[in-house]
Symmetry: C2
Subunit: 209 residues, 2 copies
DNA sequence: TAGATTGTTAATCGATTAACAATC
DNA sequence: TAGATTGTTAATCGATTAACAATC
């Protein structure tokens, strides 16, 4: 349990979580790794091995309790807590994320939205008023913000990221098309939305061959 | 060159492409795999091996021509063509993607936006009017649509995807939190935005330990 | 107890990295 | 030619899958 968990395993955790949530909604109480295997198109050994990185959640001859396993993964992913979030950039993606109601119910509370464009300042998105980027530093001092969402042009992303880190943010969710550096202080998740579209285009071409 | 290209290699192509675009903007004419290695935090052998899956684009003693390599990767990814796109669901993400101007300039032309909510029908996003979902089937018959972007609730995603496939769409870019099935006819890129936020939360927890 | 299914070790497979001959 | 750097083979590493003893 103290071994380093591989990136591949971590990236599968949200998938397990989603699947277990669905099973719970359907009213299922228990599930075996082989049943999960079929439902998720993953190898059953892999599922058992993945889960055993974090503990022995199953029971021989029975399988896993859906509810229990879901809760355990929720804890492992640390999505059972509360996070204070700021969004920088109130353009297309920034607005979409700001308006996304589920975040708050999942514990990601949007405390502030910032933009450099004065014409956007003052607009209210999901009950949060857009402030000017100049206010960011002071805002970070006065509020305990954990996560910063970057939806700025790529030119601004690293500098704003540094400001966020300086202000105590330890997680950056970056939608700007550049790999932002956490300076060893913050974890960074770089999204690169359009990469997915490019990969899709590649596969469409390959398929049509 | 006829060997099956691994998913890992394909996922790195957009990253190479972005990096080369940046180099070109900076006015660089040539680059070696070891220089790329430093700039991208990838192993130089890996870069050469990846590129050689598709052809010998380099030159011994010289390296790679930035412009040429960029153009080659563009062709490999098939992002040098034109695609006709529809967006299904004009909610937060759907709107953000519809308003994203760069798509059109990159050859992804949004031909139609559809929603089941009558109150959204008639709204114009980036010069395209939102139509009622009922019109989708006919629209697909009358237009040659290649790609469908799904930004619907998860309950509707698979059914609409099937309609799209029936209408000749061969690529689905799915933002609904469910794994959509291409029925062997269409390529599907399932995005799962919130997975990234979960992984970020996990890593923030691990780091703080 | 018998059957089922986990947890875990061993085997396989594939991806990454190192090394170097080829060659510009 | 000498130096640089690719393209490619060989070595290593890590991840996936299979197998099975442990056990509920």
């Amino acid at each position: 349990m103290n071994e380093k968990i591989s990136e591949a395993v971590i990236r599968r955790l949200p998938k397990y979580y989603r699947y277990l949530c669905d099973l719970e909604t359907l009213g299922l109480e228990r599930i075996s790794s082989s049943a999960m295997s079929k439902g998720m198109s993953l190898n059953a050994s892999q599922i058992r091995r993945d889960l055993n990185c974090f503990g022995g959640f199953g029971q021989q001859g029975y399988g896993y309790s859906v509810k229990n396993l879901k809760e355990e993964i929720k804890k492992i992913l640390a999505i059972d807590g509360n996070y204070n979030v700021v969004i920088i950039g109130s353009g297309n993606i920034g607005q979409a994320l700001a308006k996304y109601k589920s975040f708050a119910s999942e514990g990601y509370c949007i405390k502030g939205i910032f933009d450099i464009d004065s014409s956007r300042v003052g607009v209210t998105l999901n009950k949060v008023e857009v402030r000017h980027l100049e206010e960011l530093e002071t805002f970070l001092e006065e509020n305990d913000i954990n996560i910063g969402i970057l939806s700025t042009p790529k030119e601004a992303a690293q500098e704003i990221s540094d400001t966020l880190i300086e202000g105590g943010v330890t997680g950056i969710w970056n939608f700007a098309p550049i790999d932002v550096d956490g300076r060893g202080k913050a974890e960074v998740e770089n999204v690169h939305l359009s990469d997915g579209l490019y990969v899709l285009s590649y596969r469409m071409k390959e398929k049509s061959k």
